[in-house]
Amino acid sequence: MAAQVLPAEHGVRRVIGDGEGTPDGEVEGLDESALLELYRDLVLLRTYDERSVVYHRQGRIGTYAIFWGHEAIQAGSTFALADEDWIFPSYRESAIGLLRGMPPEVVLAWWRGHPAGWWDPREFRVASIAVPIATHVPHAAGYAWGARLKGESACAIAYFGDGATSEGAFHEGANFAAVMRAPVVLLCNNNQWAISTPLSAQTRAETLADKAVGYGMPGVRVDGGDVLAVYEATAEALARARSGAGPTFVEALTYRCAPHATADDPSAYWDPGRVEDERKNECVGRYERYLRRLGVLTDEIVEEARGAALARMKDGIAAAEAMPPPDPDVVFAHAYADPPPAVREG
């Protein structure tokens, strides 16, 4: 009987050390200003997330899918993208557009249930937030395939979770991507939970990167709390994609230290002790300590980055709250370019 065999990269790639036994690494091509730009991205996402939880408590936005602790996955991978590359986010990456210059009020409007949460994907090369699990993976594969057919160099990246790998849509999308040599990165945020369902109840695979083998594509594992490791792995996957070699599956290993969403009460299912430990090791602080060890980060920069992010959020929520209530007529707008005469009958 076949012993189960696993992909090469079973080790979890890391760049950032622990300041003790494990030494810090470096990433080629990232100079000081790039490292700090990446830091500001992290702080912006962290600030967006923490403020959103507050806004929700204050009743200023609706249910909200918290991404605290996932910032390194989002910022690190996005930082590796070319401007022309398309992002296909799930609800977990709702604010990833901010890294492409999307105003916070747009994303806040989405969570406020306001149509101003709509955006033109072409403006930011960010597809609409995918609410259904995994069904956007084929979209990313199709986009990348279509770009390749047009002779463009644009790639795509799809974000999805560990639970999403159980869906047929993930499987079909990944297989199409491989068969069509679509220049796409399948970035799996493995936070080890699907709401209350642990990874152990989701799959028997030893790692999610193992899923790549069945599609004939490389599978890589990185520490999802290590923004530089995520950057590096994504950059390599993109280089491979642009070279015409097709898709790569990247498993970014992390741990969900927050409720699934504001409506979720994890006390019934998670282990507070484990969460405590994981929180100590959260990704923004890790990167801060790394930059300080490098001597690149100063208190001033920290203050300035946090202040700037906070200001953007203050303006964002103000702008979102200043929006007039939507025109009721928008109910009938946009479903069809050329609507059936009966569309208003109800």
Partner: protein
């Protein structure tokens, strides 16, 4: 009788039925450890163990597909779809197998599978959390469909669905999950499939609805100067044509109300049945008040989409004017 919310009544039905029949299995996403995102399955895993209340992998077609196999092995699966819109991936299994497998065996094997899910809008949730997909299910041969509008019916119809020898889809109006409360009989309580309920007696116009729209119609009836009868269809298939046609025969006027998009929705079937079998009773057109042929809107304007008592009353007045 205890006062319960609709979701508590669902939970009560699951406990009572699983207690009664050891072959009943509850399966779905997050139904076990957390007791379900709406708490409909709370307590089942502790009471009946992880083999009879199963947290499945995140794959709706896999849930329903394995339920078919479980039924072949002698189990009575009760599958939860976490939200109605996330039941769409299992439509293929439902149409190609769940509704056809008994037929395919020449009636030799039964597939007593229950699929339950929350349905409908009014809860101010993000996209794809407020759909009303009943028409997809009702149109599928071999599948029965029920939609309760009260806690007591939620318990009784679910119990009937679980006991039924055929596959039954039970849609639970999520806007009614936590209020209002209602009297729910303790212990075993079965509301037979195929029986509509006259929710309010009246003589001038019939308001025909199901699920959350029953409440809307009751409010409209209150607002109307005329005497409106409200019929709660309760089971979309098998349909209780008798009760519906009796009401139309009495009033001669009818407004069909459905939250789902209008085109080819179940309200059209109700209107067609009336146009075919009650034409001589009709004193006016069969009007429909429905959602529109567009996606359910962002929740800040969902009230512009979901039929309101005002829209229902206005339609009733139009048909009363005939």
């Amino acid at each position: 009788m205890a006062e319960k919310t609709l979701v508590e009544a669902v939970n009560d039905a699951l406990h009572t039925e699983m207690e009664r029949d050891g072959w009943i299995m509850v399966m779905g996403e997050d139904v076990g450890r957390s007791g379900g995102v709406f708490r409909a399955t709370a307590g089942l895993r502790d009471r009946f163990g992880p083999d009879r209340c199963v947290d499945t992998p995140l794959a709706e077609a896999g849930i329903l597909g394995t339920a078919v196999g479980l039924a072949m092995a002698g189990w009575r699966p009760v599958c939860e779809m976490q939200y109605e819109s996330f039941s769409y991936p299992c439509l293929d299994q439902l149409i190609t197998h769940v509704g056809r497998y008994r037929w395919r065996t020449g009636g030799a094997m039964e597939f007593p599978i229950t699929v339950r899910m929350p349905t409908g809008g009014g809860v101010r949730a993000p996209e794809l959390h407020e759909d009303s997909p009943e028409a997809y299910y009702v149109h599928t041969p071999g599948v029965k469909v029920a939609i309760p509008s009260t806690p007591a019916d939620a318990k009784g119809l679910l119990a009937a669905a679980i006991r039924d020898p055929d596959p039954v889809v039970v849609l639970e109006p999520k806007v009614l999950y936590r209020s209002p409360r209602g009297e729910v009989p303790a212990g075993e309580h079965v509301v037979p499939l195929g029986k509509a309920r006259v929710a309010r007696e009246g003589t001038d116009v019939t308001l025909l609805a199901y699920g959350a729209m029953v409440r809307t119609c009751l409010a409209a009836a209150e607002a109307l100067e005329a005497s409106a009868e409200v019929v709660d269809v309760r089971t979309l298939k098998p349909l209780d044509e008798e009760t519906i046609l009796a009401s139309v025969a009495k009033t001669g006027r009818v407004v069909v109300v459905q939250e789902a998009p209008r085109v080819a929705g179940f309200g059209a079937e109700l209107a067609a049945v009336i146009a075919e079998k009650a034409i001589l009773d009709l004193q006016g057109p069969v009007l429909r008040v429905t959602g529109y042929d567009v996606p359910f809107p962002y929740w800040t304007i969902e009230h512009e989409y979901v039929p309101t008592p005002e829209r229902v009353a206005e339609a009733a007045r139009r048909v009363l004017a005939y």
